[in-house]
C-alpha cells in the first residue's frame, strides 16, 4: 500500500505540470483583457501602460515559467512562514500578484477560505447526514411511499438549479418572512452563543440550498448500493443464522454498501474547497467560487490559474485518497 501511494504521488507530478500548463494556455489564449472592464473614458495609451505594468505583454512561456517558479517555490515558503513564523521566505520577494487587486493571490485565497468552508463544508456534511438514512430506508423499503417521495425529492433537488432554489429561498425566507438575512456577512466572527446564532441564521439558506443538491446526489448512490447488496447470498445467510434485521441491515449490508459511497464522498471533497460559484453569488458569500468567477470575468489570469491549479492538486490527492480508502474498506482489494 505504501509503495503504491508513493508511486501514485510521483506519477502525480507530471500530471499536475501538464494540467497547470493546459490551464495556463486556456486562460491565456482566451480573448480576455484585464483592462476590458474599465470605463471607456480611460484612453487606449493608458490601457496599454496598465497592461505593460501587469506584465501581460511578456512572451507566454516566460509568463508561465515565472508563475510556475512562484507557485512551486516562493509561495510554499511564504505559506510555511505564515504557519510557523520561521523566517524562510525571501524578504520582499516576488509573489503571484492578482491583476485586479494587485495583492498576493494566496492571501486572497486564505481570506476566502473560511466562508467557503463554513457554507460549502457545512452543506456537504448536512447533505451526507440527510442522504445516508434516506438512501438506506429507500432501499430497504423499495417502492414504498417513503421511497417514492424520497426519489421524487432527490430528483427535484438534483435537477432544479441552485440559482433558482437560492432566489426562491430568499424571496420566501428573507423577503416575505424576514427570518434570515439575504446577504452574508463575511466579517462576522463567532465568539459566543449569540454570535453563533447569527452565524447559523446567515448560513442556513445557502447550506440548505447546497445541502439539498448534495443529498440528492449521494442518496441515489446509497440507495443503489444498498439494493445491490440486499439481494446477495451473504444477507440470506445472515438472516438464516437468526440475526435480527437491525444487525443484518446496519452491520452487514450497510458496511459493504458504504464502500462505493465513501469513495464518491471522498471524490467530491475538492468541490467543497472549490466553493459554489452560483450559490456564493446568490447569497453574496464571497468565497473561493466568487473569487474565481470575478477573476474570470476580469481577465485576472494569475488568480484563475492559481485557484484552478489548487483544485487540480486537491482532485488528484482525493482521487488517491479514495483509491487508498477503497483498499482499506474492502480487504479483497490489494494494490501491491
Amino acid at each position: 500500500m505504501l509503495t503504491y501511494t508513493i508511486r501514485r504521488l510521483i506519477l502525480a507530478i507530471p500530471t499536475l505540470l501538464f494540467i497547470s500548463f493546459i490551464i495556463f494556455l486556456i486562460v491565456k489564449l482566451s480573448p480576455s483583457d484585464p483592462t476590458a472592464g474599465l470605463p471607456l473614458t480611460i484612453p487606449p495609451e493608458v490601457r496599454e501602460q496598465i497592461r505593460q505594468s501587469l506584465g501581460v505583454n511578456d512572451p507566454i512561456l516566460i509568463q508561465y515559467f515565472k508563475w510556475l517558479k512562484l507557485m512551486m517555490w516562493d509561495e510554499p515558503l511564504h505559506l510555511i512562514e505564515g504557519w510557523t513564523g520561521w523566517n524562510v521566505a525571501p524578504e520582499g520577494g516576488a509573489r503571484i500578484i492578482s491583476y485586479q487587486t494587485r495583492s498576493p493571490v494566496m492571501e486572497l485565497i486564505v481570506q476566502r477560505m473560511p466562508q467557503t468552508l463554513w457554507v460549502v463544508g457545512t452543506s456537504y456534511i448536512v447533505g451526507i447526514l440527510i442522504a445516508l438514512p434516506l438512501g438506506i430506508i429507500s432501499a430497504y423499503k423499495q417502492y414504498s411511499i417513503f421511497d417514492q417521495v424520497g426519489t421524487f425529492v432527490s430528483m427535484v433537488g438534483f435537477s432544479v438549479p441552485t440559482f433558482f432554489t437560492g432566489v426562491l429561498f430568499i424571496v420566501i425566507f428573507a423577503v416575505n418572512l424576514g427570518w434570515f438575512p439575504s446577504v452574508y456577512n463575511t466579517t462576522h466572527v463567532v465568539t459566543d452563543w449569540d454570535s453563533f446564532i447569527v452565524q447559523l441564521k446567515q448560513i442556513i439558506m445557502p447550506v440548505m440550498v447546497l445541502g439539498l443538491y448534495n443529498a440528492s446526489q449521494i442518496s441515489r448512490y446509497m440507495r443503489a448500493s444498498m439494493l445491490d447488496n440486499l439481494n446477495q447470498d451473504y444477507v440470506r445467510t445472515a438472516r438464516a443464522k437468526g440475526l435480527n434485521e437491525k444487525v443484518v441491515v446496519l452491520v452487514h449490508v450497510l458496511r459493504n454498501s458504504m464502500i462505493p459511497v465513501v469513495t464518491v464522498i471522498a471524490l467530491n471533497i475538492p468541490a467543497v474547497f472549490g466553493g459554489a460559484i452560483i450559490t456564493e453569488q446568490v447569497f453574496k458569500v464571497n468565497g473561493i467560487g466568487q473569487l474565481l468567477i470575478i477573476a474570470i470575468q476580469g481577465g485576472d489570469v494569475p488568480v484563475v490559474q492559481t485557484v484552478s491549479f489548487i483544485f487540480a492538486v486537491l482532485i488528484v490527492l482525493f482521487n488517491l485518497l479514495a483509491d487508498v480508502l477503497y483498499g482499506v474498506l474492502d480487504p479483497r482489494i490489494r494494490y501491491d
Binding site: 480573448p31 480576455s32 483583457d33 483592462t35 476590458a36 472592464g37 474599465l38 470605463p39 471607456l40 473614458t41 480611460i42 484612453p43 487606449p44 495609451e45 493608458v46 490601457r47 496599454e48 501602460q49 496598465i50 497592461r51 505593460q52 505594468s53 501587469l54 520582499g92 500578484i97 492578482s98 485586479q100 487587486t101 494587485r102 495583492s103 498576493p104 492571501e107 486572497l108 481570506q111 476566502r112 430568499i170 428573507a174 423577503v175 424576514g178 438575512p181 439575504s182 446577504v183 456577512n185 463575511t186 466579517t187 453569488q281 446568490v282 453574496k284 458569500v285 464571497n286 466568487q290 473569487l291 470575478i294 470575468q297 476580469g298 481577465g299
Partner: protein, 571 residues
Amino acid sequence: MTRTSLLLGATALAMVPVAALADAHSTRGSSGHLNIIYWQAPSTLNPYLSGGTKEVESSSLILESMARFDDTGTMVPWLAESIPTVENGGISEDLTSITWTIAEGVTWSDGSALTPADFIFTWEYCTHPEGGCAQASFFDGVTSVEAVDDRTVRVNFGSATPFPYTAFVGSESPVLQAAQFAECLGARAPECTDANFGPIGTGPFVVDEFRPNDVIELSANPNFRFPDRPYFGTVTFKGGGDATAAARSVCETGEFDYAWNLQIDPTILAGMAAQGNCEVVVAFGTSVERLHLNQTNPDPALGDMRSTVAGGPHPFLTDPIVGQALSMAIDRALLTEIGYGAGGQATCNVLPAPELYASTANDACLVQDIPGAIALLDANGIVDGDGDGIREYNGIPLRVLFQTSTNAVRQDAQALIKQWWAEIGVDAELRNIDASVFFGGDPASPDTFQKFYADIEMYTNNFAGVDPQAYMASWLCSDIPGPDSQWQGSNIQRFCSPEYDALVAEMAGTADLQERGRLAREMNDMIMQSYSIIPLVHRGGVSAHAASIDGIRMSDWDSELWNIMDWRRAD
C-alpha cells in the same frame, strides 16, 4: 456621596443640553451605521491602480481632491479654499498654470497636515512610466507641480489649457499621502498592498478593514475637518451578487441603505420601489447609448483592409440620407421605456450635457417617423428594385450587420430596431459579443468594437468630468483606429472631416466658456448631421436608498457618494 461623584453629577447635568442637541442627529456619528451595497465589489482602494467605477467611488469615502462636482455638474471647492479662475488670478493669463490654495486646517486622518508635497508626490506617482496609472489622462499636459508656499500648489501645463480642472479635481484624481506611498512608486506600486488596501486620506471615513472584492468596514475620521460630520459613525460597504439582489436588499428586506447601479428591468425596480421602503434616485451625466455607422467598408472580401480607411468608404452608410432614414425609423421613447425606465431619456445628441453644450438643433429625431423615412429614401432614388423587400443603393442591397455586446437590454433594443428597419426596407443581421471581448481591445481579436468588422454597432460612451473638449476630439481624422495604430483610436465610426478637425483645434485654444459652448454644439451638430452616429438614449445612473436616509444628492459628474458626509438618518 463623595465629592468626586458630586462633581461628576454636576458635570453630567451640565452636559444635558449638549446631549439634547446631539439627539437632533447633527453630530459626528449620531446617525449610527450605514450599509452600502455595490453589486460589483471594489478590488482595491487605490483609484490610481484600477480605473473601475467601483474602486473610484469606494475610495472617494477616504480620498479627496481639490474640488468636486455636485449634482448639477457645478464645481465645488473641496480641499481647496476656492475655485481658481482667470478672474481671481488662480489661472494664469496665458492659461498655462493653475494655482490651488489648500483650505485651512485640513489634516490627514493620522493627524498630520496636508501639504503641497502630497500633491507633488501624487503627480509623480501617477505619471511614473512603470506605474501603469489608470488615471494618467487626468495629468495629461501637466509638466510640473510645484509648491508655492505651505498651502499653495501650482500645476503647470506645457501649453495653453483652457480647462485646467483635470489634475486633482473629481473623484478620479484624489491626493495620496506622500508619507504612506513614498516607497510605492512605479513598478513597486503593487507591492504596497497595505497602503493600497488602506490608504490614509483626508475624507470623512477611515478604513478599518478591507477585503478585496468583498467588503470594506469604515468608521468616521476622528481628524475630519468638519467637527460635526460625517453624521454616520460607521459604514459597511459590501460588494457582490447582482443588481436585482442589491435592489431587493434595500427595497424589500431593508438590510442595506444604499444600492448602486441598478440597471435592471425598469418594471421590477418600479414594483420594488412601490412598496415604499426605498427611493430610486437617478443622475444624468454624459452617457449616451448610440449607434455607430461604419464609414469604411467592412466587407470580409477586403481581408486585412476591411474597416480601414485604406479599404475605401462604406458602400452606402457614408450617405447621410441612409443614416437619416435609419434614425427616423427608430422610436427612441419606446427603447427608453423598455430598457431603461427612469434611468434613461431619449436623446438626439451625442453630447447631451452639461446644459451649456447641449444642442437643440436635432430634436426632430425624438418622434419616430417611418412614413417620413420611406418617403426620404424614395425621393432619393433608394428603392427596392428587385422586389425582395430590401432597398438597393446604387445596386447594393441595404443589408447591415448590426453588432453589440451581450446584455439583455441591448438584445431587446436590437430586435426592435431590426423590426423598424425592416419596415423601411433595410435588412439587419444581429450579432452580440461578450462584453469582455467586445470592449477588450485585444488587437488579435476580430470582435472588438474598435475593429468594427460590422456595419453598425451599438454601445454607450461618455466622458469623465464636465468638459467635453477631449471627448469632442474623439472624432478627429487622425484618431481613426487601424492596423498601424494596433486598432487604438477613439474615432470608432471612422468619421473624417477637415472642417470638424478645424473646430477641434479652435476649441483647444478658446477659454471663453460661452464660446466653448457654441463650438461644442456646432461639432455635435456636425456629427449628428453626418449620421455617422445615431444617438438613442441619454443614460443616467440609477441607485436606490432607504427612505430613512436624508441628504443624498446623487451626482453623475463625480462619485455618487461625493457628499456622504452630509448623509444622515431621518428620525
